[in-house]
């Protein structure tokens, strides 16, 4: 068992998959000679050369288009978006081309394409660079969408993504790259569509993915200490396919749920999760499904305002207390 940072776990997955399959190649801005903005691809240009680690011009639509074309021919491109915010420029290529060709061709073609990169806010990147995109992608049939929260999942799910024959949106988060965790030395895969309970509890279910899982764990800890309530934390991990069974089982046990996501609150994918919970667990619920999302504003630059916008443990604790009314 080695302790790896999230970025190192991703890098290990890339190396193993590139070694395993000659069809796997990397493409993106500054990923090669410059080693990658978040250094996920550090050293890979030197290791695999310009053929398999392709530095591109700043042309997101073109990059995704070229990758999709290559995938239609059977290659397995892994595209890095320097930040997921830039994938907005390529949305037409992603959702209208890569995600649809299988259906439009009646199953003749598949697009084994991975698009990965950090989604969400970092430190004062301001309005144009802080988007959470996973909710939009999860809305689009034909895409799979995952958002691992730990180094081990980052490793195992990236390998699964690369082996998947469908386009996969693989969302990382700037705040996760540095976090460390145990990753088994033996090769393993983490399947899509399986949520995991990160912390067991009986009074309330916190449902989250990506970095917000850590925020929820912190909130759960505090609620335990300060309010004596037992909080369960469900890490959704994979938005499409989504393991609603695990989420519903948790809610049926605790009778209360709060869904937490970093994206703008209104219309975020958390609303879909809330809706599914109340659709399926209505009779089990003792309180409305609560949610905590990012403030509905373009991300401001000033650090104090920015911190206001991104959900933190305080926000989760507060909403949890509301949802637990009567219990505490």
């Amino acid at each position: 068992m080695a302790e790896l940072a999230y970025r190192e776990a991703l890098r290990r997955a890339l190396i193993e998959e590139m070694d395993r399959d000659e069809n796997v190649f990397l493409m993106g801005e500054d990923i090669g000679r410059y080693q990658g903005t978040f250094r996920v691809t550090a050293g890979l240009f030197e290791k695999y050369g310009a053929r398999r680690v392709v530095d591109t011009p700043i042309s997101e639509p073109g990059i995704v288009g070229i990758s999709t074309g290559a995938a239609l021919m059977g290659l397995r491109p892994v595209v890095e978006m320097m930040t997921m915010s830039f994938s907005i420029l390529a949305l037409d290529q992603i959702i209208n081309h890569a995600a649809k060709v299988r259906y439009m061709s009646g199953g003749q073609f598949s697009v084994p394409l991975v698009i990965r990169g950090p989604g969400g806010a970092a430190n004062q990147l301001s309005a144009q660079h802080s988007h959470s995109m996973e909710g939009w992608y999860a809305h689009v049939p034909g895409l799979k969408v995952v958002a691992p929260s730990t180094p081990s999942d980052a490793y195992g799910m990236l390998k699964t993504a690369i082996r998947d024959d469908n386009p996969v949106i693989f969302t990382e988060n700037p705040g996760l790259y540095g976090i460390k965790g145990e990753v088994d030395d033996d090769e393993f895969l983490v399947p899509f569509g399986k949520a995991v309970v990160r912390r067991e509890g009986t009074d309330l279910s916190l449902v989250a993915y990506s970095r917000m899982v850590h925020v929820c764990l912190e909130a759960a800890e505090r609620l335990d200490k300060e309010d004596g309530v037992s909080v369960e934390v469900v890490d959704v991990r994979s938005l499409v396919p989504m393991d609603t069974d695990t989420i519903f089982a948790s809610v049926r046990k605790t009778h209360r749920a709060v869904v937490v996501y970093e994206d703008w609150k209104s219309g975020g994918f958390g609303a879909e999760i809330c809706t599914r919970i109340q659709e399926s667990c209505f009779d089990d619920l003792d309180a409305p499904v609560g949610r905590v999302g990012g403030l509905n504003v373009p991300m401001p630059y000033a650090r104090n305002l920015e911190l206001q916008c991104i959900p933190n443990a305080d926000d989760v604790v507060e909403k949890s207390r509301q949802t637990l009314q009567g219990v505490i």
Binding site: V64, G65, A70, L72, H97, R102, M104, S105, Q108, N166
Partner: protein, 359 residues
């Protein structure tokens, strides 16, 4: 308002003046083999034209819906280029896509089924007129977002180069599509990385209802390759003999040099933009169409073949009749073909799972 551009020049033999291939038809005596191939080309022209008439009929009769765009008038482009490419050279195109897959070996029946939304269609009825595909025959679609497929075209070539294959990717797009920004991202990367792709502009001088001179600052669209260091030229697309020469030369260049190429093929659509284009007078005169029809590819080719004694007048009638009959049968057979089953709606979204079901 435009200052620098020349007006959208009209179709004439002059168009091919710039071609670096030797002018055809007039010079040299064709071999028998050449003539045989050209007779085949003529047969194809009739077949495609008849097919398109039947596809329009399907639309009028409510057997096809959506947007339906016929290739009538432009036949020489696809016949010449697909005729000259190698079997495994991949092709990608926009929504005016009925001719390509047929020329590449897909049966008219399968194409007509797709246009009618039938299970026997190339995409099992899920794609429709704009979204034809044949993985087996190397036809990569069939795309509806104007310009959207051009980067994928470069991507096909990327894969060819990655694997060191001896193939050339052919990417057809329209004059209107030439204004989509992604085309220039694709050109830059294709040139930067030496991708063997032909960007083939089918310049029929109009984008839906907007004429070339109102949508392109300089109507010589091939010149847009200059800034990306790509070879480029404008050639004729009505005389299939000339088209074949240019195609052979350019495909050869790309194959040998492993470099992209931008070729602007001047052509004309005799039909409306799509089946729903009810008022062509909004963008062109009857005279303009009549003028263009003087260079109808069928006319040019049949005159040539008659002149060289490869066919007789009666053969023309015969070919036309055969094509009519064939395509009428295709129409009948396709219109009797089964529709997709309801459960198929969830299939082919993913390779290995279904999306959440239900409303």
């Amino acid at each position: 308002m435009r200052r620098n551009g020349k007006g959208a020049s009209f179709l004439s033999t002059k168009e091919s003046k710039k071609s670096k291939s030797k002018p055809s038809a007039s010079n040299g005596k064709p071999t028998r083999k050449e003539l045989e191939q050209l007779v085949e080309d003529l047969r194809w022209m009739y077949r495609i034209r008849e097919f398109e008439d039947q596809s329009m009929r399907a639309f009028r009769n409510g057997l096809a819906g959506g947007y339906l765009h016929v290739y009538t008038g432009m036949e020489a482009v696809a016949i010449g280029w697909i005729g000259e490419k190698r079997e495994d050279d991949p092709v990608i195109a926009a929504y005016r896509d009925h001719a390509y897959p047929m020329l590449m070996g897909v049966s008219p029946y399968e194409v007509m089924c797709e246009i009618m939304g039938r299970r026997d269609g190339t995409s099992k009825g899920k794609g429709g007129s704009m979204h034809l595909y044949s993985a087996e025959k190397h036809f990569f679609g069939g795309w509806g977002i104007v310009g959207g497929h051009t980067a994928m075209g470069a991507g096909l070539a990327f894969a060819i180069k990655y694997r060191g294959e001896d193939r050339v990717a052919l990417c057809f797009y329209g004059d209107g599509a030439a204004n989509a920004g992604i085309v220039y991202e694709a050109m830059n990367m294709a040139s930067l990385w030496d991708l063997p792709v032909v960007f083939l502009i089918e310049n029929n001088q109009v984008a839906m209802g907007t004429r070339l001179e109102y949508h392109a600052a300089d109507p010589e669209l091939h010149k847009r390759a200059v800034g990306f260091g790509i070879e480029h030229e404008r050639v004729d697309g009505m005389d299939v003999i000339q088209v074949r020469k240019d195609a052979a030369r350019i495909l050869d260049y790309v194959r040998k040099n492993q470099r992209p190429y931008v070729v602007e093929v001047m052509t004309y659509r005799f039909a409306g933009h799509g089946a729903a284009d009810h008022d062509q007078s909004l963008y062109r005169s009857k005279e303009e169409v009549e003028q263009a029809k003087k260079r109808d590819p069928i006319l040019l080719l049949s005159q040539y073949l008659l002149k060289h004694g490869a066919i007789e007048e009666s053969d023309l009638e015969q070919m036309q009749k055969e094509a009519e009959k064939e395509m009428a049968e295709v129409y009948e057979k396709a219109s009797a073909a089964p529709k997709p089953d309801p459960h198929e709606v969830y299939e082919d979204v993913y390779t290995d799972m279904q999306p959440e079901e239900g409303h």
